[in-house]
Protein backbone atom coordinates (compact mmCIF):
# COMPACT_ATOMS: atom_id res chain seq x y z
CA UNK A 1 0.00 0.00 0.00
CA UNK A 2 3.01 2.25 0.27
CA UNK A 3 3.50 2.24 -3.51
CA UNK A 4 0.55 4.47 -4.11
CA UNK A 5 1.44 6.88 -1.35
CA UNK A 6 4.92 7.26 -2.72
CA UNK A 7 3.95 7.81 -6.32
CA UNK A 8 1.57 10.35 -4.92
CA UNK A 9 4.25 12.37 -3.23
CA UNK A 10 2.37 12.32 0.04
CA UNK A 11 2.88 9.65 2.62
CA UNK A 12 0.63 10.59 5.49
CA UNK A 13 -2.10 12.62 3.93
CA UNK A 14 -3.66 9.64 2.22
CA UNK A 15 -6.34 8.38 4.57
CA UNK A 16 -8.72 7.25 1.88
CA UNK A 17 -6.66 5.39 -0.62
CA UNK A 18 -7.94 2.01 0.46
CA UNK A 19 -11.19 2.64 -1.39
CA UNK A 20 -9.26 3.71 -4.46
CA UNK A 21 -7.13 0.60 -4.15
CA UNK A 22 -10.19 -1.58 -3.90
CA UNK A 23 -11.52 0.02 -7.07
CA UNK A 24 -8.24 -0.68 -8.84
CA UNK A 25 -8.19 -4.26 -7.59
CA UNK A 26 -11.76 -4.81 -8.67
CA UNK A 27 -11.05 -3.48 -12.14
CA UNK A 28 -8.18 -5.92 -12.23
CA UNK A 29 -10.71 -8.72 -11.79
CA UNK A 30 -10.65 -9.17 -8.00
CA UNK A 31 -14.20 -10.02 -6.96
CA UNK A 32 -13.41 -9.90 -3.26
CA UNK A 33 -12.41 -6.28 -3.70
CA UNK A 34 -15.85 -5.60 -5.14
CA UNK A 35 -17.44 -7.23 -2.12
CA UNK A 36 -15.45 -5.14 0.31
CA UNK A 37 -16.19 -2.05 -1.73
CA UNK A 38 -19.90 -2.76 -1.94
CA UNK A 39 -19.92 -3.26 1.81
CA UNK A 40 -18.24 0.08 2.47
CA UNK A 41 -20.44 1.95 0.02
CA UNK A 42 -23.59 0.25 1.28
CA UNK A 43 -22.83 1.06 4.90
CA UNK A 44 -21.93 4.65 4.16
CA UNK A 45 -25.07 5.19 2.09
CA UNK A 46 -27.24 3.55 4.71
CA UNK A 47 -25.76 5.83 7.32
CA UNK A 48 -26.22 8.96 5.22
CA UNK A 49 -29.72 7.93 4.19
CA UNK A 50 -30.63 7.23 7.79
CA UNK A 51 -29.51 10.69 8.78
CA UNK A 52 -31.73 12.30 6.16
CA UNK A 53 -34.72 10.79 7.93
CA UNK A 54 -34.22 13.35 10.66
CA UNK A 55 -34.79 16.09 8.12
CA UNK A 56 -37.81 14.49 6.57
CA UNK A 57 -40.26 16.12 8.91
CA UNK A 58 -38.70 19.49 8.20
CA UNK A 59 -39.60 18.98 4.56
CA UNK A 60 -36.01 18.71 3.49
CA UNK A 61 -35.41 16.02 0.92
CA UNK A 62 -31.95 14.82 0.11
CA UNK A 63 -31.65 13.40 -3.38
CA UNK A 64 -29.90 10.13 -4.06
CA UNK A 65 -27.47 12.00 -6.27
CA UNK A 66 -26.39 14.18 -3.36
CA UNK A 67 -26.09 11.16 -1.12
CA UNK A 68 -23.86 9.37 -3.58
CA UNK A 69 -21.67 12.43 -4.01
CA UNK A 70 -21.39 12.79 -0.28
CA UNK A 71 -20.48 9.14 0.14
CA UNK A 72 -17.88 9.59 -2.58
CA UNK A 73 -16.34 12.56 -0.80
CA UNK A 74 -16.34 10.78 2.51
CA UNK A 75 -14.90 7.53 1.23
CA UNK A 76 -12.54 8.78 -1.43
CA UNK A 77 -12.17 12.50 -0.97
CA UNK A 78 -11.71 15.40 -3.30
CA UNK A 79 -8.20 14.51 -4.31
CA UNK A 80 -7.38 13.73 -7.88
CA UNK A 81 -9.15 10.53 -8.75
CA UNK A 82 -8.93 8.72 -12.02
CA UNK A 83 -12.23 9.33 -13.82
CA UNK A 84 -12.67 5.62 -14.36
CA UNK A 85 -12.44 4.97 -10.65
CA UNK A 86 -14.93 7.72 -10.03
CA UNK A 87 -17.31 6.28 -12.61
CA UNK A 88 -17.02 2.81 -11.15
CA UNK A 89 -17.68 4.13 -7.68
CA UNK A 90 -20.86 5.83 -8.92
CA UNK A 91 -21.90 2.64 -10.64
CA UNK A 92 -21.60 0.61 -7.44
CA UNK A 93 -23.27 3.33 -5.40
CA UNK A 94 -26.30 3.41 -7.70
CA UNK A 95 -26.66 -0.33 -7.37
CA UNK A 96 -26.42 -0.15 -3.57
CA UNK A 97 -28.91 2.73 -3.55
CA UNK A 98 -31.33 0.61 -5.52
CA UNK A 99 -31.02 -2.12 -2.96
CA UNK A 100 -31.46 0.22 0.00
CA UNK A 101 -34.45 2.00 -1.50
CA UNK A 102 -36.18 -1.14 -2.69
CA UNK A 103 -35.65 -3.09 0.53
CA UNK A 104 -37.03 -0.17 2.45
CA UNK A 105 -40.01 0.42 0.19
CA UNK A 106 -40.89 -3.26 0.09
CA UNK A 107 -40.82 -3.50 3.84
CA UNK A 108 -42.80 -0.36 4.34
CA UNK A 109 -45.47 -1.19 1.80
CA UNK A 110 -45.82 -4.62 3.36
CA UNK A 111 -46.51 -2.86 6.64
CA UNK A 112 -49.08 -0.55 5.12
CA UNK A 113 -50.95 -2.93 2.94
CA UNK A 114 -50.53 -6.26 4.58
CA UNK A 115 -48.98 -8.87 2.39
CA UNK A 116 -51.01 -7.98 -0.71
CA UNK A 117 -49.19 -5.52 -2.88
CA UNK A 118 -51.02 -2.49 -4.12
CA UNK A 119 -50.83 -2.37 -7.91
CA UNK A 120 -49.15 0.67 -9.35
CA UNK A 121 -51.55 3.03 -11.06
CA UNK A 122 -50.06 5.09 -13.83
CA UNK A 123 -51.84 8.38 -14.23
CA UNK A 124 -51.50 10.95 -16.92
CA UNK A 125 -48.09 12.02 -15.70
CA UNK A 126 -46.70 8.86 -14.24
CA UNK A 127 -43.98 9.51 -11.72
CA UNK A 128 -42.87 6.50 -9.73
CA UNK A 129 -40.60 8.77 -7.73
CA UNK A 130 -43.71 10.47 -6.39
CA UNK A 131 -45.66 7.27 -6.21
CA UNK A 132 -43.81 6.21 -3.13
CA UNK A 133 -43.12 2.68 -2.11
CA UNK A 134 -45.37 0.95 -4.62
CA UNK A 135 -43.72 2.87 -7.44
CA UNK A 136 -40.22 2.01 -6.29
CA UNK A 137 -40.97 -1.67 -5.87
CA UNK A 138 -42.75 -1.84 -9.21
CA UNK A 139 -39.85 -0.20 -11.03
CA UNK A 140 -37.38 -2.49 -9.32
CA UNK A 141 -39.28 -5.57 -10.40
CA UNK A 142 -39.86 -4.36 -13.94
CA UNK A 143 -36.16 -3.54 -14.16
CA UNK A 144 -35.36 -7.11 -13.26
CA UNK A 145 -37.42 -8.21 -16.24
CA UNK A 146 -35.87 -5.65 -18.53
CA UNK A 147 -32.43 -6.92 -17.51
CA UNK A 148 -33.43 -10.32 -18.91
CA UNK A 149 -34.17 -8.66 -22.22
CA UNK A 150 -31.16 -6.36 -22.22
CA UNK A 151 -28.94 -5.89 -19.21
CA UNK A 152 -27.40 -2.61 -20.26
CA UNK A 153 -30.77 -0.92 -20.76
CA UNK A 154 -31.70 -1.90 -17.21
CA UNK A 155 -28.36 -0.60 -15.98
CA UNK A 156 -28.99 2.80 -17.56
CA UNK A 157 -32.32 3.10 -15.79
CA UNK A 158 -30.79 1.94 -12.52
CA UNK A 159 -28.12 4.61 -12.73
CA UNK A 160 -30.67 7.28 -13.62
CA UNK A 161 -33.62 6.42 -11.43
CA UNK A 162 -31.95 4.92 -8.38
CA UNK A 163 -28.57 6.61 -8.64
CA UNK A 164 -29.79 10.01 -9.78
CA UNK A 165 -26.88 10.24 -12.22
CA UNK A 166 -27.20 12.49 -15.24
CA UNK A 167 -26.55 11.39 -18.82
CA UNK A 168 -22.88 12.44 -18.78
CA UNK A 169 -22.21 10.50 -15.63
CA UNK A 170 -24.01 7.43 -16.91
CA UNK A 171 -22.01 7.63 -20.13
CA UNK A 172 -18.80 7.65 -18.08
CA UNK A 173 -19.89 4.71 -15.95
CA UNK A 174 -20.75 2.60 -18.97
CA UNK A 175 -18.00 3.85 -21.24
CA UNK A 176 -20.38 4.87 -24.01
CA UNK A 177 -21.28 8.23 -25.55
CA UNK A 178 -23.74 10.66 -24.11
CA UNK A 179 -25.90 10.30 -27.23
CA UNK A 180 -26.07 6.54 -26.76
CA UNK A 181 -27.26 6.98 -23.20
CA UNK A 182 -30.04 9.36 -24.28
CA UNK A 183 -31.13 7.13 -27.12
CA UNK A 184 -31.16 3.96 -25.07
CA UNK A 185 -32.80 5.56 -22.04
CA UNK A 186 -35.71 6.47 -24.28
CA UNK A 187 -36.46 2.94 -25.39
CA UNK A 188 -35.85 1.60 -21.88
CA UNK A 189 -38.44 4.05 -20.57
CA UNK A 190 -40.92 3.00 -23.24
CA UNK A 191 -40.35 -0.66 -22.41
CA UNK A 192 -40.88 -0.07 -18.69
CA UNK A 193 -43.88 2.16 -19.23
CA UNK A 194 -45.52 -0.52 -21.32
CA UNK A 195 -44.68 -3.16 -18.75
CA UNK A 196 -46.03 -1.13 -15.83
CA UNK A 197 -49.14 0.27 -17.47
CA UNK A 198 -50.24 -2.65 -19.59
CA UNK A 199 -50.07 -6.19 -18.34
CA UNK A 200 -48.18 -5.22 -15.22
CA UNK A 201 -50.63 -4.37 -12.47
Amino acid sequence: MSDESQSDGTLRDEPRHDVTQLLVRWRGGDDQALDALASLVYNELRRLAGRSLNHESAGLTLQTHDLIHEAFLRLIGQRHVDWQNRAHFFGIAAQMMRRILTDHARRRSAVKHGSGRRPLVLDEVPDPAADGDAGIVAVDEALGELAQENAELARIVELRFFGGLDHDEIAAVLGVSDATVRRRFRIAKAWLYRRLSGRGA
Partner: protein, 343 residues
Protein backbone atom coordinates in the same frame (compact mmCIF):
# COMPACT_ATOMS: atom_id res chain seq x y z
CA UNK B 1 -27.41 -14.90 -29.13
CA UNK B 2 -30.35 -14.98 -31.45
CA UNK B 3 -32.45 -13.23 -28.84
CA UNK B 4 -29.86 -10.53 -28.28
CA UNK B 5 -29.61 -10.00 -32.01
CA UNK B 6 -33.35 -9.66 -32.21
CA UNK B 7 -33.38 -7.05 -29.49
CA UNK B 8 -30.68 -5.07 -31.29
CA UNK B 9 -32.88 -5.07 -34.38
CA UNK B 10 -35.92 -3.93 -32.38
CA UNK B 11 -33.88 -1.14 -30.87
CA UNK B 12 -32.52 -0.02 -34.22
CA UNK B 13 -36.02 0.06 -35.75
CA UNK B 14 -37.41 1.91 -32.75
CA UNK B 15 -34.66 4.54 -32.92
CA UNK B 16 -35.18 5.11 -36.60
CA UNK B 17 -38.98 5.18 -36.46
CA UNK B 18 -38.98 7.49 -33.43
CA UNK B 19 -37.22 10.13 -35.52
CA UNK B 20 -39.92 10.03 -38.21
CA UNK B 21 -43.15 12.03 -38.17
CA UNK B 22 -45.93 9.88 -36.70
CA UNK B 23 -47.76 9.50 -40.03
CA UNK B 24 -44.71 8.02 -41.75
CA UNK B 25 -43.94 5.40 -39.15
CA UNK B 26 -46.45 2.77 -40.23
CA UNK B 27 -45.16 2.70 -43.78
CA UNK B 28 -41.57 2.59 -42.59
CA UNK B 29 -42.22 -0.33 -40.29
CA UNK B 30 -44.26 -2.21 -42.87
CA UNK B 31 -41.31 -1.93 -45.22
CA UNK B 32 -38.59 -2.64 -42.67
CA UNK B 33 -40.26 -5.56 -40.91
CA UNK B 34 -41.58 -7.19 -44.06
CA UNK B 35 -42.49 -10.73 -43.12
CA UNK B 36 -42.00 -10.37 -39.39
CA UNK B 37 -45.32 -9.06 -38.01
CA UNK B 38 -44.28 -9.96 -34.48
CA UNK B 39 -41.33 -7.63 -34.61
CA UNK B 40 -43.46 -4.93 -36.14
CA UNK B 41 -45.99 -5.31 -33.31
CA UNK B 42 -43.23 -5.09 -30.73
CA UNK B 43 -41.79 -1.89 -32.17
CA UNK B 44 -45.23 -0.33 -32.62
CA UNK B 45 -46.23 -1.01 -29.06
CA UNK B 46 -42.96 0.45 -27.79
CA UNK B 47 -43.53 3.54 -29.90
CA UNK B 48 -47.05 3.88 -28.50
CA UNK B 49 -45.67 3.65 -24.97
CA UNK B 50 -42.97 6.16 -25.85
CA UNK B 51 -45.65 8.70 -26.81
CA UNK B 52 -47.02 8.66 -23.28
CA UNK B 53 -43.77 8.10 -21.44
CA UNK B 54 -42.27 11.54 -21.92
CA UNK B 55 -42.23 12.50 -18.24
CA UNK B 56 -41.97 8.94 -17.02
CA UNK B 57 -38.92 8.28 -14.81
CA UNK B 58 -38.07 11.90 -15.39
CA UNK B 59 -36.73 12.36 -11.91
CA UNK B 60 -34.88 10.00 -9.69
CA UNK B 61 -36.44 8.57 -6.62
CA UNK B 62 -35.83 10.80 -3.62
CA UNK B 63 -33.75 9.48 -0.81
CA UNK B 64 -36.22 10.67 1.79
CA UNK B 65 -37.80 7.30 1.18
CA UNK B 66 -34.53 5.60 1.98
CA UNK B 67 -34.12 5.30 5.71
CA UNK B 68 -35.06 1.82 6.71
CA UNK B 69 -38.10 1.87 8.95
CA UNK B 70 -38.09 -0.61 11.77
CA UNK B 71 -40.01 -3.74 10.91
CA UNK B 72 -43.46 -4.08 12.48
CA UNK B 73 -43.14 -4.67 16.17
CA UNK B 74 -44.02 -8.07 17.54
CA UNK B 75 -44.58 -6.77 21.06
CA UNK B 76 -47.74 -8.29 22.53
CA UNK B 77 -47.80 -11.09 19.99
CA UNK B 78 -47.17 -14.75 20.38
CA UNK B 79 -44.30 -16.33 18.48
CA UNK B 80 -44.08 -20.07 18.84
CA UNK B 81 -44.21 -20.88 22.52
CA UNK B 82 -43.24 -17.38 23.48
CA UNK B 83 -45.08 -14.17 24.26
CA UNK B 84 -43.19 -11.07 23.16
CA UNK B 85 -42.95 -8.47 25.92
CA UNK B 86 -40.59 -5.73 24.82
CA UNK B 87 -38.15 -4.73 22.15
CA UNK B 88 -34.54 -4.90 23.30
CA UNK B 89 -32.73 -3.67 20.24
CA UNK B 90 -31.92 -3.81 16.57
CA UNK B 91 -29.01 -5.59 14.98
CA UNK B 92 -27.79 -5.34 11.44
CA UNK B 93 -30.16 -8.03 10.31
CA UNK B 94 -32.49 -8.71 13.16
CA UNK B 95 -34.61 -7.35 15.97
CA UNK B 96 -34.16 -8.68 19.46
CA UNK B 97 -37.13 -8.92 21.82
CA UNK B 98 -37.59 -9.88 25.40
CA UNK B 99 -40.10 -12.74 25.58
CA UNK B 100 -41.41 -15.28 28.06
CA UNK B 101 -42.48 -18.85 27.55
CA UNK B 102 -46.22 -18.55 27.37
CA UNK B 103 -47.27 -22.14 27.87
CA UNK B 104 -45.09 -23.10 30.74
CA UNK B 105 -45.41 -23.50 34.46
CA UNK B 106 -42.23 -21.55 35.00
CA UNK B 107 -41.87 -18.09 33.56
CA UNK B 108 -38.58 -18.22 31.74
CA UNK B 109 -37.38 -14.99 30.18
CA UNK B 110 -35.66 -15.36 26.84
CA UNK B 111 -34.22 -13.17 24.13
CA UNK B 112 -36.05 -13.65 20.85
CA UNK B 113 -33.96 -12.73 17.85
CA UNK B 114 -36.14 -12.26 14.80
CA UNK B 115 -34.80 -11.79 11.30
CA UNK B 116 -36.50 -8.60 10.26
CA UNK B 117 -34.56 -6.40 7.93
CA UNK B 118 -34.19 -7.87 4.51
CA UNK B 119 -35.99 -11.06 5.40
CA UNK B 120 -36.74 -11.34 1.70
CA UNK B 121 -33.07 -11.59 0.92
CA UNK B 122 -31.86 -15.12 0.59
CA UNK B 123 -28.31 -14.39 1.71
CA UNK B 124 -29.49 -13.02 5.05
CA UNK B 125 -31.77 -15.96 5.64
CA UNK B 126 -28.86 -18.26 4.89
CA UNK B 127 -26.64 -16.40 7.31
CA UNK B 128 -29.32 -16.70 9.95
CA UNK B 129 -29.43 -20.46 9.45
CA UNK B 130 -25.65 -20.56 9.71
CA UNK B 131 -25.84 -18.74 13.01
CA UNK B 132 -28.30 -21.28 14.31
CA UNK B 133 -25.94 -24.11 13.39
CA UNK B 134 -23.01 -22.38 14.99
CA UNK B 135 -24.78 -21.59 18.22
CA UNK B 136 -26.10 -25.09 18.58
CA UNK B 137 -22.52 -26.36 18.66
CA UNK B 138 -21.42 -24.01 21.45
CA UNK B 139 -21.95 -24.59 25.15
CA UNK B 140 -20.01 -22.25 27.39
CA UNK B 141 -20.98 -20.01 30.33
CA UNK B 142 -19.47 -17.04 28.49
CA UNK B 143 -21.64 -17.47 25.39
CA UNK B 144 -25.38 -16.77 25.26
CA UNK B 145 -27.03 -20.17 24.92
CA UNK B 146 -29.35 -21.15 22.08
CA UNK B 147 -32.64 -22.56 23.43
CA UNK B 148 -34.90 -22.95 20.45
CA UNK B 149 -35.44 -21.92 16.83
CA UNK B 150 -38.47 -21.54 14.61
CA UNK B 151 -40.27 -19.57 11.94
CA UNK B 152 -42.96 -17.01 12.80
CA UNK B 153 -46.39 -17.08 11.13
CA UNK B 154 -45.24 -14.15 8.99
CA UNK B 155 -42.36 -16.29 7.77
CA UNK B 156 -39.60 -14.65 9.78
CA UNK B 157 -37.03 -17.08 11.13
CA UNK B 158 -36.16 -16.59 14.80
CA UNK B 159 -33.73 -17.78 17.43
CA UNK B 160 -34.59 -18.14 21.08
CA UNK B 161 -31.55 -17.31 23.19
CA UNK B 162 -30.66 -17.23 26.83
CA UNK B 163 -31.68 -13.78 28.04
CA UNK B 164 -28.71 -11.99 29.52
CA UNK B 165 -29.48 -9.19 31.91
CA UNK B 166 -26.37 -7.11 31.84
CA UNK B 167 -24.49 -4.02 30.78
CA UNK B 168 -22.17 -3.48 27.81
CA UNK B 169 -18.66 -4.34 28.89
CA UNK B 170 -17.21 -0.84 28.42
CA UNK B 171 -20.11 0.85 30.20
CA UNK B 172 -19.93 -1.71 32.97
CA UNK B 173 -16.24 -1.04 33.53
CA UNK B 174 -16.72 2.73 33.54
CA UNK B 175 -19.85 2.80 35.69
CA UNK B 176 -18.17 0.71 38.34
CA UNK B 177 -14.87 2.56 38.02
CA UNK B 178 -13.02 -0.71 37.56
CA UNK B 179 -9.26 -0.74 38.03
CA UNK B 180 -7.08 -2.02 35.16
CA UNK B 181 -6.70 -5.45 36.72
CA UNK B 182 -10.49 -5.92 36.94
CA UNK B 183 -10.82 -4.82 33.32
CA UNK B 184 -8.21 -7.34 32.28
CA UNK B 185 -10.13 -10.03 34.19
CA UNK B 186 -13.22 -9.25 32.10
CA UNK B 187 -11.20 -9.51 28.91
CA UNK B 188 -9.82 -12.85 30.07
CA UNK B 189 -13.37 -14.11 30.51
CA UNK B 190 -14.11 -13.00 26.97
CA UNK B 191 -11.00 -14.82 25.76
CA UNK B 192 -12.12 -18.02 27.48
CA UNK B 193 -15.45 -17.87 25.61
CA UNK B 194 -13.67 -17.07 22.35
CA UNK B 195 -11.29 -19.98 22.91
CA UNK B 196 -14.28 -22.29 23.32
CA UNK B 197 -15.73 -21.06 20.03
CA UNK B 198 -12.38 -21.52 18.28
CA UNK B 199 -12.17 -25.07 19.59
CA UNK B 200 -15.48 -25.64 17.77
CA UNK B 201 -14.13 -24.23 14.54
CA UNK B 202 -16.00 -20.98 14.98
CA UNK B 203 -14.45 -17.56 14.50
CA UNK B 204 -16.72 -14.87 15.89
CA UNK B 205 -15.59 -12.10 13.50
CA UNK B 206 -17.55 -9.32 15.16
CA UNK B 207 -16.31 -9.00 18.73
CA UNK B 208 -17.01 -5.48 20.02
CA UNK B 209 -18.28 -3.89 23.25
CA UNK B 210 -21.92 -3.94 22.17
CA UNK B 211 -21.67 -7.70 21.71
CA UNK B 212 -20.41 -8.35 25.22
CA UNK B 213 -22.67 -7.98 28.25
CA UNK B 214 -21.55 -8.24 31.84
CA UNK B 215 -24.09 -9.47 34.39
CA UNK B 216 -24.58 -8.05 37.85
CA UNK B 217 -22.32 -10.66 39.36
CA UNK B 218 -19.54 -9.81 36.93
CA UNK B 219 -19.85 -12.60 34.35
CA UNK B 220 -19.03 -11.55 30.77
CA UNK B 221 -21.24 -13.05 28.06
CA UNK B 222 -20.50 -12.98 24.37
CA UNK B 223 -23.51 -12.36 22.13
CA UNK B 224 -24.33 -12.32 18.47
CA UNK B 225 -22.66 -14.81 16.30
CA UNK B 226 -24.42 -13.01 13.48
CA UNK B 227 -21.53 -12.97 11.11
CA UNK B 228 -19.54 -15.81 12.54
CA UNK B 229 -18.79 -18.53 10.04
CA UNK B 230 -17.78 -22.08 10.39
CA UNK B 231 -14.23 -22.52 9.26
CA UNK B 232 -13.70 -25.51 7.10
CA UNK B 233 -13.61 -28.67 9.20
CA UNK B 234 -11.20 -30.38 6.84
CA UNK B 235 -8.58 -27.68 6.61
CA UNK B 236 -6.82 -25.72 9.26
CA UNK B 237 -8.64 -22.92 11.00
CA UNK B 238 -8.75 -19.91 8.77
CA UNK B 239 -8.04 -21.61 5.51
CA UNK B 240 -11.68 -21.30 4.48
CA UNK B 241 -12.27 -18.63 1.88
CA UNK B 242 -14.64 -15.82 2.68
CA UNK B 243 -17.93 -16.22 1.00
CA UNK B 244 -19.45 -13.34 -0.90
CA UNK B 245 -21.95 -12.58 1.82
CA UNK B 246 -19.59 -12.55 4.72
CA UNK B 247 -17.58 -9.62 3.48
CA UNK B 248 -20.58 -7.35 3.40
CA UNK B 249 -20.97 -7.05 7.11
CA UNK B 250 -18.17 -5.70 9.17
CA UNK B 251 -17.75 -3.16 11.91
CA UNK B 252 -14.92 -0.90 10.73
CA UNK B 253 -13.78 0.05 14.26
CA UNK B 254 -13.23 -3.57 15.29
CA UNK B 255 -12.35 -5.23 12.01
CA UNK B 256 -8.86 -6.65 11.65
CA UNK B 257 -6.84 -5.60 8.59
CA UNK B 258 -7.39 -8.95 6.90
CA UNK B 259 -11.18 -8.54 7.25
CA UNK B 260 -11.16 -5.07 5.80
CA UNK B 261 -9.10 -6.18 2.84
CA UNK B 262 -11.24 -9.22 2.25
CA UNK B 263 -8.52 -11.77 3.04
CA UNK B 264 -9.09 -14.99 4.99
CA UNK B 265 -10.02 -14.74 8.65
CA UNK B 266 -8.64 -16.94 11.41
CA UNK B 267 -8.63 -17.09 15.20
CA UNK B 268 -6.05 -14.30 15.02
CA UNK B 269 -8.84 -12.10 13.61
CA UNK B 270 -10.74 -12.41 16.89
CA UNK B 271 -7.49 -11.86 18.79
CA UNK B 272 -7.18 -8.52 17.00
CA UNK B 273 -10.71 -7.46 18.00
CA UNK B 274 -10.07 -8.41 21.61
CA UNK B 275 -6.87 -6.36 21.39
CA UNK B 276 -8.91 -3.33 20.31
CA UNK B 277 -11.35 -3.99 23.14
CA UNK B 278 -8.56 -4.23 25.72
CA UNK B 279 -6.89 -1.08 24.41
CA UNK B 280 -10.22 0.78 24.68
CA UNK B 281 -10.93 -0.53 28.15
CA UNK B 282 -7.48 0.45 29.43
CA UNK B 283 -7.10 3.84 27.79
CA UNK B 284 -10.53 5.05 26.73
CA UNK B 285 -9.10 5.64 23.26
CA UNK B 286 -9.14 3.62 20.07
CA UNK B 287 -5.77 2.17 19.03
CA UNK B 288 -5.97 3.34 15.42
CA UNK B 289 -9.18 5.24 14.69
CA UNK B 290 -8.92 8.09 17.18
CA UNK B 291 -10.24 11.24 15.50
CA UNK B 292 -11.11 9.44 12.26
CA UNK B 293 -14.59 9.79 10.86
CA UNK B 294 -16.51 7.68 8.39
CA UNK B 295 -15.93 4.07 7.45
CA UNK B 296 -13.33 4.91 4.79
CA UNK B 297 -11.10 6.88 7.15
CA UNK B 298 -11.44 4.36 9.95
CA UNK B 299 -10.44 1.53 7.65
CA UNK B 300 -7.57 3.47 6.14
CA UNK B 301 -6.28 4.17 9.65
CA UNK B 302 -6.48 0.48 10.41
CA UNK B 303 -3.74 -0.13 7.86
CA UNK B 304 -1.64 2.94 8.53
CA UNK B 305 -1.69 3.83 12.19
CA UNK B 306 0.54 2.02 14.68
CA UNK B 307 -1.14 1.99 18.11
CA UNK B 308 0.65 4.16 20.66
CA UNK B 309 2.02 2.34 23.72
CA UNK B 310 0.02 3.19 26.83
CA UNK B 311 3.00 3.18 29.19
CA UNK B 312 1.79 0.03 30.92
CA UNK B 313 4.92 -2.08 30.64
CA UNK B 314 4.20 -5.74 29.95
CA UNK B 315 0.61 -4.94 28.99
CA UNK B 316 1.88 -2.81 26.14
CA UNK B 317 3.66 -5.86 24.78
CA UNK B 318 0.42 -7.86 24.86
CA UNK B 319 -1.46 -5.05 23.14
CA UNK B 320 1.26 -4.60 20.57
CA UNK B 321 1.31 -8.28 19.73
CA UNK B 322 -2.47 -8.69 19.56
CA UNK B 323 -2.79 -5.62 17.31
CA UNK B 324 -0.16 -6.57 14.72
CA UNK B 325 -1.30 -5.84 11.16
CA UNK B 326 -0.07 -9.25 10.02
CA UNK B 327 -2.27 -11.98 11.55
CA UNK B 328 0.65 -14.43 11.54
CA UNK B 329 2.51 -12.20 13.98
CA UNK B 330 -0.32 -12.05 16.54
CA UNK B 331 -1.15 -14.54 19.24
CA UNK B 332 -2.38 -17.56 17.37
CA UNK B 333 -5.10 -18.38 19.87
CA UNK B 334 -7.29 -16.69 22.46
CA UNK B 335 -5.68 -18.88 25.10
CA UNK B 336 -2.21 -17.70 24.21
CA UNK B 337 -3.34 -14.11 24.65
CA UNK B 338 -5.14 -14.89 27.92
CA UNK B 339 -1.99 -16.55 29.27
CA UNK B 340 0.10 -13.55 28.29
CA UNK B 341 -2.25 -11.36 30.33
CA UNK B 342 -1.20 -13.24 33.45
CA UNK B 343 -3.05 -15.21 36.09
Amino acid sequence: MAVAGRWDRIEALFDEAALLPAEERAAFLARACGDDPEMRGEVESLLAADEKAAGFLGRPVASAAAPPAPPPSLVGQRVGHYRVEARLGEGGMSTVYLAVRADDAYQQQVALKVLGYGAERADLAARFRAERQILASLDHPGIARLLDTGVSPAGQPYLVLEYIEGTRIDHYADERGLKPRARIDLVQQVLAAVEHAHAHQVVHRDIKPSNILVTNDGAAKLLDFGIAKMVSPDGSLGSAPLTAGSARVLTPEYAAPEQASGAAVSPATDVYAVGVLLYLLLSGTHPTAEGRRGAGEVIAALFEVQPKPLGLGGLDEVLEKSLRKNPDERYQSAKEMADALGP
